[in-house]
Structures are given as C-alpha cells and as structure tokens.
C-alpha cells in the first residue's frame, strides 16, 4: 500500500486559514489501511479543526466526506455535486489522490493534510515498513525476495557494504541489514549461486528516465 502520515496540525491550520467553508475528504484505500486518511481519521481531524475554530472565535464550516478511492475518477465524481459549496478541499488522500481530485476540479483549491511517504507493508499493529521503491524493474527473484534498492541504505546490488555488523544496518541499528537477510535466506534455500554473478548497473530509466511514468494498456481502454 501507499503509506502516509498526517501533517502537523499547525501546518494544516496555516493552509486552510484563508477559508471559511472547508470539506475534509478522506480516502478508504491505502491511507485508511495505514490509519492516516480513512473515515476515522477524517472525523478526528475535522473535530479537532472545529474545536480549534470555536476556541479562536472563528466562524468556519467544516464538513466531512470519505471516498472509496481518491485516485479513481468514478469515485472522485461523488464530489461533483457538492464541491461548489466549499472554499477549499482538505484532502486526506495520498499525493496521487490530491492531484487526481485537483485535476477533476481545476478551479477548486485543494490542499493536502498528509505527507505521503512510501510503498510498504503493515509489519505489525502500528508499524509500517518501506519495502518497494517502484523502480519498474523488479529483481526480487535474485535476492530472496528482499529488495536491495529499498532496504539497503545504499541500494547495493552486489553484496553488503563494509558496515554491517551483527545483522544490523550501520545507518540505523533498528533496521536489519538487507544483505544479511539476502545472504542467509539464499543460504537456507541453497541458492548462494545467485550471488556469484556481478549484477550490472540498474536501468533507472524505468523509474525516472523520462519524468513521470505512465502505464498505457490498449486492452483496458474499451
């Protein structure tokens, strides 16, 4: 999923300060799963903003709405009939959601309430870890399903750096050394041979070669 964290309330308040009618819009997909932008979080943020505006004597109207997905037109369309009633949309979608809504309603001011962070997994309750950079050229098959691009701080393709000690990454001792994981998993599988060849330089053009990427599929168009 795409993970995100809510911005500090002070930053959010500053962005919405010029506006009186505010629609807080959540997203029921990834950011709901990581407890940053779902219906529950929309409610919490809207309540906090209402209490704050009351305390400071401001006359502000704050409404809530959560779309199943903020990055797909069919769901964004639910805003069409209501959007004109507001001065600003405060989006709890990821960066893709915020931009998708903005594209559908180019005249509406939309501001983000979240900092979108990474593609990751829910490791345990309240803990999400980054494990994919969306490089567009997945090589997990060579590396015992541990991504060196994402999980090695230096993104090394050919073995550990000189700093790994007692299974920990030298950059952050809270993080396991990805290469220690790769080597021990491949050893368990009897596939250390996968590490004998030199992996050539990666093709980063698949990640950022020509600016933003797109996927175009004729078979999905009709």
């Amino acid at each position: 999923m795409i993970t995100a964290e809510r911005k500090p309330i002070s930053e959010i308040k500053e962005m919405i300060a010029p506006y009186k009618k505010i629609l807080v819009v959540g997203c029921g997909s990834c950011v709901a799963e990581c407890a940053s932008g779902g219906e529950k979080e929309v409610g919490l943020l809207a309540s906090a903003l209402r209490m704050d505006s009351k305390a400071s004597g401001k006359d502000v109207e704050i409404k809530e709405m959560t779309l199943d997905r903020q990055c797909v037109y069919e769901f964004i369309d639910q805003l069409t009939d209501v959007v004109d009633q507001y001065d600003v949309i405060l989006s709890l979608g990821c960066g893709a959601g915020v931009q998708a809504v903005a594209e559908v309603f180019p005249k509406v001011h939309i501001v983000p309430a979240l900092n979108t962070t990474f593609i990751g997994q829910t490791k345990e309750a309240g803990l999400w870890i980054e494990n994919c950079r969306g490089c567009g050229d997945c090589k997990l098959g060579f590396f015992a399903a541990v991504c060196p691009v994402t999980r090695c701080a230096k993104g090394l393709f050919n073995g550990p750096c000189g700093g790994s000690k007692t299974d920990r990454c030298e950059v952050d001792p809270d993080v396991p050394c990805a290469w220690q994981l790769i080597v021990s998993r491949l050893e368990d599988m009897g596939r250390l041979d996968l590490l004998c060849k030199v992996h050539p330089p990666a093709d980063w053009s698949k990640q950022q070669g020509k600016g933003p990427r797109k996927i175009y599929r004729e078979d999905q168009r009709s």
Binding site: A153, K154, G155, L156, F157, N158, G159, P160, C161, G162, G163, S164, K165, T166, D167, E170, V171, C177, W179, Q180, V183, S184, L192, L195, C196, V198, H199, P200, P201, A202, W204
Partner: protein, 307 residues
C-alpha cells in the same frame, strides 16, 4: 612517455607494498595537501586520497591527487558512488587519467547520514562492484557503460576495498571473489586489529585461490589512545577492535599510549608480512601522517624500492 602506476610496479616486482592515506582539508588550501605529501613521499609507494570520507565536505579527491602528482607522488584516487552518477563517475575517471593519475580505488562510500550534509540525496546510481567493472571495461575494452567507444581509454590500476571483519563473515570471501571477477587488481582492507580473524579470512581467500589473482594490502591504523580504541570498537561500523588490544592500550600511562599504538601497528605490519597472500600494507593514520615514517622505518620497510 606515459607514466605507470608505481604501486602496480612495486607489486608486480614482488615487493611488499606500502601505501598511506592522505585526507584532504576542509578548505581550499593546497599547501595542506602538499605538506602531507612531503611527509609521506619516499616512505610509501603510493598515497590514497579519500573522497569526502564520512560524508563530510572536503577538498575534492581528484584535485588533491593532481596536487600530489605534481609533487612527484603516485596518488591513488578514491572515488565513491555516493555522490556521483555514472555520467559523472566515468567523466572523472577519464579526467583522472588525463591528469596522470594511475590508480583508482572504487568505493560505495560512507552513507551521507553520517556526515555534515545529512539532508543530501545519496546517489548510489551504481555500486562499488559495478564501478570496478565499469572502470575495467573503460580501460580494457575502451568502452563506457552502454558500449560507446572511447577515443583513448583511461590508464588506471584498479582497486577496491574489503572488510574481513564485517558480517556475514563466510560470505566476505565470496564477495571478494565477485570484486575480483568484476576487475579489481588490488584490495585495501579495513583496519586490522583482530589478527586471528584476519588470518581466518585469508585462509578463505587462499582456499578460493584469490591470493594469486589480486594483490591484498592489509589496513593499518595506529591507535592514538585507549579511548580511541574503545570508541572505534563501539561506534565505528564494521570495525573489530578486540578487548585485548583495548586492555593493552589501557595498560600504559596516557602519555605513552601513542607509542604503544605505534608498537601495535608495527607488530601488525610484521605479522602481515608473514601471511601468505598479503602483498602489502595500507597505513591510514588519520590526521597523524607523520607517524607513517616511524612505522615504515621500525617495520624495516624503509627505504622503499626504486621501480
């Protein structure tokens, strides 16, 4: 006439090589480099110039190498993949060769979060092994990545680093083999304090026949104090300083600890000379370059061979 790498000639002639490290200053003064060069000249075969080590901004390695070259030394250009993409790396490799620099040490580099620019974007477009392979292909096939031909290949003796003390231990020799396959011709190791473990690693290296494929230079860093020994043991990633070395440093009064550190360094150099497959030493006396003369003399490695 084209000059050759002195380091390569010393190693090829079967001599036990001695290299030292020279850290560039945190400023633009060329005299700092020149005076370090003067101290090291005649006592070592070649001088490594570090590339913004620990991620701290310093005078650039390439410029410092050119300054040392002009003073008659044989510089080893250290280059890290942390700060440059493949375009910049290959370009600097060509520039280094054009300036008469004949040795390169290809590294990934200390992570930027350790230095004075922790908000920098780490490049890591390629890793150290891919970098070794790239320089080797540029030199031997006269091609850059992607196959475009060079009008003139770079003339460089190609090195890489190895850490016999980091984990996973058993895999470390396999990783060295990969570096050699990629094209490394000489290896400089992490500082050696744990001789037993280094010997175990060398056993693995010899078992794989790597000692006849690559020149191995053991890393030496003289300890300045017991505190430094303790600090390195606890805080420096990939460093193995055994308790007995720390205790030995502690066993002498503070003002004699530097000399004890030198004694340990000399003993280690001599122990390394006796290990089959070790072809030299690389002395990293950080901001203590003048001690190199003493270590080289006391280890009876002075004068250096004329090659």
């Amino acid at each position: 006439m084209m000059t050759e790498s002195r380091l390569k000639k010393v190693l090829q002639s079967g001599n036990f090589a001695v290299t030292a490290e020279c850290g560039p200053p945190k400023g633009a003064d060329p005299e700092v480099i020149k005076s370090k060069g003067k101290i090291l000249k005649d006592y070592v075969d070649s001088v490594n110039v570090t590339d913004n080590q620990t991620g701290v901004v310093r005078l650039c390695s390439l410029a410092a190498c050119a300054l040392l070259k002009a003073e008659g030394l044989d510089p080893v250009l250290q280059m890290v993949t942390r700060d440059r993409n493949r375009i910049a790396l290959q370009s600097d490799v060509l520039g280094a060769s054009a300036l008469g620099i004949r040795n390169i040490l290809c590294l990934s580099g200390d992570h930027q979060s350790f230095g004075n620019q922790p908000q920098a974007k780490g490049v890591f477009d390629i890793d150290s092994i891919q970098f070794v392979q790239t320089v080797r292909t540029m030199r031997d096939a006269g091609e850059v990545i992607g196959g475009d031909k060079l009008t003139e290949p770079p003339h460089l003796f190609i090195g890489a680093a190895a850490n016999p003390f980091a984990d996973p231990f058993k895999y470390r020799a396999a990783r060295l083999a990969t570096k050699v396959d990629a094209g490394a011709e000489f290896i400089q190791t992490q500082c050696i304090y744990n001789l037993d473990r280094f010997k175990q690693w060398m056993d693995l290296v010899r078992d794989s026949g790597l000692d006849s494929k690559v020149y191995i230079l053991g890393g030496i860093t003289p300890l300045k104090s017991a505190r430094m020994a303790e600090y390195m043991a606890k805080n420096v990633a990939g460093m193995d300083v055994p308790e007995e070395i720390i205790n030995r440093m502690k066993s002498v009064p503070a003002k004699e600890q530097r000399q004890e550190g030198v004694k340990i360094a000399v003993e280690t150099v001599q122990a390394l000379q006796a290990i089959k497959g070790v072809h030299g030493v690389h002395i990293m006396a950080i901001e203590w370059e003048d001690v190199v003369q003493q270590i080289v003399q006391e280890a009876k490695l002075f004068p250096r061979p004329q090659v």
